[in-house]
């Protein structure tokens, strides 16, 4: 598979997504929950109360102390990881393209989820959910995930709010959302992220930028055509206004970052030109996304 090298995959096997909130899905999994319940890992004792299952009474202690104590076990739960990958046309830019970078990230995070026996859903979004690969679980689905990612092409116009809303359809219980996008949406992103935050989903936002957005290599008088909408803007003497553009970009990035901070959303941004292994193995671990 060209997206990820085998060596990089071997590194990923040792990693796990650091989920802080309870993300209990519909079935039992391998991820230890912070809650007590059914499981095999002993955690603690407590006094027996009427209604407790007799099976969990520790008869040895009863024999010694003549008191009833119940054994408590750490519940093991399944994590539902929803990866929302922006595949709009604007993601097709950059070297490598932001979409390729997004696919690499999706593959990496999906692989980590699968090897940790989490339930992985991959939604490809633009103005809505364009394609989905759902309910992947276990190592056996790795190839399916990679093949799915491999054939993705940029398409559609970005409507993040609509797409996020669409991805929530049919979703029950808690889940993790990982959003991979360039966030170049004139209609904004705030509404969609607010919904996720309000429903209690643990959300990770990965903001992908291309080098040509960070430092545009254009000069003179230009006619810029929007790749998604076909809208045109004419600019004269662009060299003179690049500084102003960069300031605008800075304000835009700061705006997203502070929004995520305010809504307890994890946020990382990176250029698509940064190697994926460095992003995953260094930046994500540094940011506390992976352990």
């Amino acid at each position: 598979m060209s997206l990820l090298s085998p060596e990089f995959l071997s590194y990923l096997e040792k990693l796990d997504l650091l989920i802080k909130r309870s993300v209990k899905g519909s079935s039992v999994g391998e991820r230890l929950s912070s809650r007590y319940g059914r499981g095999i890992e002993f955690q603690d004792y407590r006094s027996y109360e009427i209604g407790d299952d007799f099976r969990y009474i520790d008869w040895n202690i009863y024999a010694r102390l003549d008191k009833l104590f119940v054994k408590l076990f750490r519940e093991e739960e399944i994590s539902v990881i929803n990866i929302l990958l922006d595949i709009s046309k604007s993601m097709g830019f950059g070297n490598p393209s932001k979409l390729y970078f997004g696919k690499q990230l999706s593959a990496s995070l999906g692989y980590i989820g699968l090897v940790n026996y989490d339930l992985v859903n991959l939604h490809c979004i633009s103005s809505t959910v364009e394609k989905s690969l759902e309910s992947l679980r276990g190592r056996t689905n790795v190839m399916r995930l990679l093949r799915f990612l491999d054939v993705l092409e940029p398409q559609g116009i970005t409507f993040l709010n609509t797409a996020i809303r669409d991805s929530l359809r049919g979703l029950k219980g808690k889940a993790v959302f990982i959003i991979l996008s360039d966030f170049l949406d004139p209609n904004g992103y705030e509404e969609g992220l607010k919904i996720l935050s309000a429903r209690g989903y643990e959300t990770f936002v990965f903001h992908i930028l291309s080098e040509e957005e960070i430092d545009p290599l254009i000069s003179g008088s230009v006619k810029l055509i929007d790749s998604e909408t076909g809208e045109v803007i004419e600019l004269d003497e662009i060299d003179d206004i690049l500084k102003g553009y960069k300031q605008t970009l800075g304000r835009f990035l700061e705006g997203i970052e502070s929004f995520c901070l305010d809504h307890s959303i994890e946020y990382i941004r990176a250029s698509s030109s940064i190697p994926i292994d460095r992003v995953v193995l260094y930046y994500m671990r540094l940011a506390g996304w992976l352990k």
Partner: protein
């Protein structure tokens, strides 16, 4: 504008070429970008900056085109005729009596003044304005000035007079000025002769609507021939289109002496005769026509009781001079030579031992000699004449006793006219006349050759003669705007004049006379001086002013406010144009390189 080398207009072809090159230069690189969202956001934030940049870019093109235009204009060598709007504007405001008419509220004059002030405001900033008022005189109020505030102050101070207007004369005056106005605004009711000079650019603004007016058009007094009795003639005319019933009152002082009611048809004139009567003091005629102009509803005549002025033409006659000093005389002047013009200034002239060949009508005393044109023939020269009869009925001979009078030598007259006051054998030696030539008393003897001068009756006789000759003064009357001339006894004497608009003072000149021309209100003017009080009635009595009907339409004299003067400017203007083109090139270079340095 003319062009001396129009072929160079071909150079203007360069303009489309420059525009074409500009368009080529501004061809934009087309780029497809992920999203223009951030660019749009930036341009919204920096809109002002972008607009400035665009302007800076466009201004380079404008400068290039301007350079080509200036160069082209320089090459074609323009000979420019300047076209300027009126620079020198004259305001003539009619202050004649008819402007007081109330057919326009409050008056024609008030509206005219208001419109004049509006015109001043409407004129351009650099316009020079001069102001004239026109009534019986042309009043030059303000020389050309661009100070509109001053012009408005002058106009605001104007008021209408009771005088007859003459806009035509004012226009003629302005026509003769060195500095010709480009435009003349005339604010009038049109009541003036239409002798407007054709070479003046005039915009006439007329203010009149109605003709409802009747007025006194003349007042005069005539002798009846009966001992100072006179008849007063009053002319009243109805100028309106409707029939009018007009009450008339005539007052002598505080006493109403005549009342009448005149039914006048449209445009009808009626003469009312008052008297015969010995009038004295001030006679006032009043009509009450209920019309739009009240100034012409009254007229005055005065009958002054003034002492006569006397000129004594003599070599030397102390007895006569003493006797004259005792008579009721205002002025006594003595001379040994004379001319006819001099004689007309005095009420009575006494020729002692001399006489002109002919006399004009007047009051005269001839002693010893007579002129040829009086109706008197010399019959004889007699030694020691015997007085046969004295006419004691004559006022001249009242209280005169000639019983012991002796005369050394006398000329005997005979006449079919006049009265023989002292009759001798073949005629008379003292004769009086009253007729076309006025009043004349002739002595047939030299006073110093008689015992009369030593007689107590001599001063009485002189006083009687002076009293008879001076008893018929003309009534004092003048018209508004006229100059009243008055003689007093002293030089540089202060004369107080009580006018209808207040008290003024004047000083007599070296010839002991004053000339008073500020008679711009109808009424009685009282002159208080060493000769006593002299009242003069000043009246409007003008057909022109009383006829307040609308006359001249504003449309007929619509001047061209944008009067244009064609002046050929210096043809060397091309040098300045080329210089301007070089300037634009430098400016463009500065902007272009300056901008590059910044970027």
């Amino acid at each position: 504008m003319s062009f001396l080398s129009p072929i160079y207009f071909l150079f203007l072809i360069a303009i489309p070429i420059v525009i074409f090159l500009y368009l080529l230069r501004t061809r934009r690189q087309i780029l497809i970008v992920p999203s223009i969202y951030l660019w749009k956001r930036y341009t919204k934030e920096e809109l002002r900056y972008s607009v400035f940049k665009k302007f800076l870019k466009d201004i380079l093109l404008i400068l290039q085109i301007l350079t080509i235009i200036l160069l082209t204009l320089g090459l074609v060598k323009p000979a420019i005729f300047s076209s300027v709007i009126a620079r020198n504007v004259v305001f003539i405001i009619d202050t004649s009596c008819s402007m007081q008419a109330k057919d326009i509220k409050p008056t024609r004059f008030d509206l005219a003044r208001e419109k004049a002030l509006e015109k001043v405001d409407a004129l351009g900033r650099g316009t020079s304005i001069s102001v004239f008022a026109s009534d019986s005189k042309t009043k030059f109020l303000l020389d050309y000035t661009t100070d509109k505030r001053l012009v408005k102050e002058v106009i605001k101070r104007l008021y209408p007079t009771d005088t007859e207007g003459d806009i035509g004369e004012t226009l003629s005056y302005i026509e003769k000025l060195n500095k010709k106005p480009d435009l003349i605004y005339v604010f009038t009711d049109g009541a003036f002769e239409e002798n407007i000079p054709p070479n003046l650019n005039i915009e006439l603004l007329t203010f009149s609507k109605d003709d409802n007016n009747a007025g006194i058009t003349d007042i005069s007094a005539r002798d009846t021939g009966i001992k100072g009795e006179k008849e007063i003639f009053i002319k009243v005319k109805n100028f309106s289109k409707n029939k009018k019933s007009i009450p008339l009152q005539v007052w002598e002082g505080e006493r109403l002496i005549e009342t009448d009611s005149l039914d006048l048809n449209p445009k009808e004139e009626r003469i009312v005769i008052v008297g015969p009567k010995r009038f004295s003091g001030i006679v006032k005629a009043m009509i009450y026509p209920n019309d739009l102009l009240s100034t012409d509803d009254k007229a005055y005549l005065t009958f002054p009781r003034v002492k006569p002025s006397v000129l004594l033409v003599t070599k030397e006659n102390p007895y006569l001079e003493i006797a004259l000093s005792l008579a009721d005389i205002s002025i006594l002047d003595k001379t040994d030579s004379f001319n006819l013009e001099m004689l007309s200034k005095y009420d009575i002239v006494i020729f002692d031992g001399t006489a002109p060949n002919d006399i004009l009508p007047g009051n005269y005393i001839f002693i010893g000699k007579i002129p040829s044109n009086i109706p008197l023939q010399v019959v004889d020269i007699t030694e020691r004449p015997t007085i046969i009869r004295v006419d004691a009925t004559s006022p001249i001979m009242r209280f005169v006793n000639l019983n012991d009078m002796t005369i050394k030598r006398a000329v005997v007259f005979e006449s079919s006219q006049g009265k023989s006051l002292i009759k001798v054998k073949d005629g008379s030696i003292l004769w009086s006349y009253e007729g076309n030539l006025g009043r004349i008393v002739t002595f047939g003897f030299y006073l110093e050759e008689s015992s009369l001068i030593e007689s107590p009756s001599f001063p009485i006789l002189v006083k009687n003669i002076i009293g008879w000759l001076g008893e018929n003064p003309s009534p004092g009357v003048a018209y508004t705007g006229n100059v009243i001339t008055l003689r007093t006894k002293k030089m540089n004497e202060d004369v107080t004049i009580i006018t209808p608009y207040g008290v003024v003072k004047r000083e007599t000149d070296d010839r002991r006379s004053i000339t008073f021309g500020d008679t711009y209100k109808v009424g009685v003017y009282s002159f208080k001086s060493s000769v006593g009080n002299i009242d003069v009635g000043v009246n409007l009595c003008s057909f022109l002013e009383s006829d307040i009907s609308p006359k001249v339409s504003s449309k007929e004299f619509k001047g061209n406010a944008e009067y244009r003067e064609r002046v050929l400017l210096n043809t060397d203007v091309w040098k300045f144009l080329v210089l301007g083109a070089l300037g634009t090139i430098f400016l463009e270079g500065y902007l272009f390189y300056g901008r590059r340095k910044v970027s």
